[in-house]
Symmetry: C2
Subunit: 348 residues, 2 copies
């Protein structure tokens, strides 16, 4: 367990913790007193049928979804009871950096997407008595969790909107994630996960950020000098003043825990590797929402999965920012699209 002020309410906005007890993991082992950090908006109605679940993306926290939620938006707290779940390993929920011995740091057990969804399911059923979810929506690893929800709890999930993510991770994404992990683990300061401060891994975290700069946005992002969307005047400022410090403030083991999980996201684990059968289980109405300029969750990968889901539509989002379009740096030009599709889905 080490200090890292990045993972605080001051940096990440308000959130609450729920103690799941001794939480058993798919890969074996447990997280004792596993903490699930969450943030809610709005009020659970009497029928308990106005619940929207939103799981976080890689490296992100509940703060990342703030701009998606608000009065007048599709994700409207005046109508819905919205629960944003921080995935295990993200630094707010139980994670390598905040766990005590014997699961601290490099000894943190392997966590899978299904563990997150089971944890979220346990919380929402035992804490709120919820039996029906109006919508699960999330971006990237949040999309992986969204698919897992829809396949694992088909009678409970009424609608699902995976944004910029897949039900079964691709080989290309696995290899891409390898490079992100190697950028960190190649730093001698990482020391097999046994550093005393994340600042000892600053070089590795910088290389990690640099790879994100290549794959996280689009080639056209740079042609059109869209780094200005992030409040930076030059590409050097985008790198040195935004992207590198962002990842350098995070915990290396947390990032590695999430990356390992991302690599293995696969709903077909529930059906002996048969993806068509797994996606065939879904009873929810599904809008599959890839981002057109996404370099590692390209629309055609997402469309292949959409076509295996009976009650589904492909709804393409446009963002020159590519995968990082999820951050919402384009403002209303992006959120108007998200709202348009999610409003239609919620009206179904």
């Amino acid at each position: 367990m080490i200090e890292n002020t990045f993972y605080s309410e001051k940096e990440q906005g308000p959130y609450s913790n729920y103690n799941l007890g001794d939480f058993s993991l798919a890969e074996g082992g447990i997280i004792p007193n596993c903490t699930l950090a969450y943030r809610t908006y709005g009020t659970l109605n009497k029928e308990k049928n106005n619940v929207i679940v939103i799981p976080t993306w890689f490296s992100g926290t509940s703060k990342g979804y703030e701009p998606y939620i608000g009065a007048g938006r599709a994700l409207d707290p005046e109508k819905y009871f919205i629960v944003v779940f921080n995935q295990i390993g993200n630094g707010l929920s139980s994670s390598p950096h905040n766990s005590p011995e014997p699961i601290a740091m490099g000894d943190f057990p392997k966590v899978r997407i299904e563990d997150d969804v089971k944890a979220q399911h346990q919380f929402i059923t035992e804490h709120f008595g919820v039996k029906e979810i109006a919508l699960v929506v999330g971006g990237s690893m949040g999309a992986q969790q969204t698919y897992e929800w829809a396949v694992r709890f088909p009678d409970m999930v009424k609608r699902a909107a995976p944004i910029a993510g897949t039900a079964k991770n691709t080989v290309h994404d696995f290899l891409f994630t390898d490079t992100l992990m190697e950028a960190i683990t190649s730093d001698p300061g990482w020391n097999k996960g046994n550093y005393t401060s994340h600042t000892e891994v600053a070089d590795g975290l910088k290389r990690h950020a640099n790879i994100w700069a290549v794959m996280g946005v689009s080639t056209e992002f740079y042609v059109q000098e869209k780094w200005k969307l992030f409040g930076t005047e030059t590409v050097d400022e985008f790198m040195e003043g935004f992207l590198q410090p962002l990842f350098q403030s995070m915990d290396p083991n947390n990032l590695l825990s999430m990356a390992w999980k991302w690599q293995r996201g696969d709903v077909s684990r529930m059906t002996n590797g048969n993806l068509e059968e797994a996606l065939g289980r879904i009873k929810a109405k599904v809008f599959v929402m890839p981002i057109d300029e996404d370099m590692f969750f390209p629309p055609r990968d997402c469309e292949k999965e959409q076509q295996m889901i009976e009650n589904s539509e492909l709804r393409l989002l446009h963002s020159i920012v590519g995968h990082f379009g999820l951050f919402g740096a384009e403002g209303e030009a992006y959120f108007e699209q998200v709202d348009y599709h999610l409003s239609e889905l919620l009206a179904e």
Copy 2:
């Protein structure tokens, strides 16, 4: 100067060396007795107007173009005198690993695309008395040199076909190349370029290969399991049996020298940064030939440049292999396209 058997005729096929004398570089400094390694096919005709020049891509040698050249192909040695030039730094021409003190290894001077083209021009004029080039064609960094030829020697170059490359390197490519370089320089074995064998940098070269696996091919390459084109049965075999050993057999300083050069390829250095003016100088008929699945020289980047060239056409190549389509692993499905376009261009 160190031993590396990868850079031998046994591995790279036959080639000849030309001594350029003390060769002055754009960034300052000289390469004493600079060696330009080249391979020729066919015979220079009496009019000396049947010359085709082909410069090499990043990490490649003259061997890479073997499948492009042959009787019945567009690049036909029975009609043309074909000169394949190994770029400086590629391990056959003067390079960090094969140069003596004081420019050995980490002390090798910075080389630019324009240095390569000036070296090739010096050779072809003083050795063969050539005054006209029927065609310059090359892929990737070979395309950068092709553009440089057409802009720098507009009266000499009659036709040009840059394949999968740009006249002015993009910001995205610059950042991508940074990650390739960091993969190597982060290896303690690299030791600022002062290793005694490239095997001391095996970890860094492996990471370098792993990043190529993400950007060098396409997402669809993995979906369609196209690693079989490289004679490998599984993706692990593609990585561990082909891509990693390939780059691990190369010299780290050589790769870094070429990468630095690639990052700064820019014909508008001749026109105070005005790309339109630079490309406006071209008198050659130009076919701009991007590969549709290329992740870092996407067709739209190439098309923007094509539109600045008066006598030009965009000729798109299809390859599911993406940028590494250049290697020709798809066989005739790829080379038939190349031949079709180059034959038309040569008939102009």
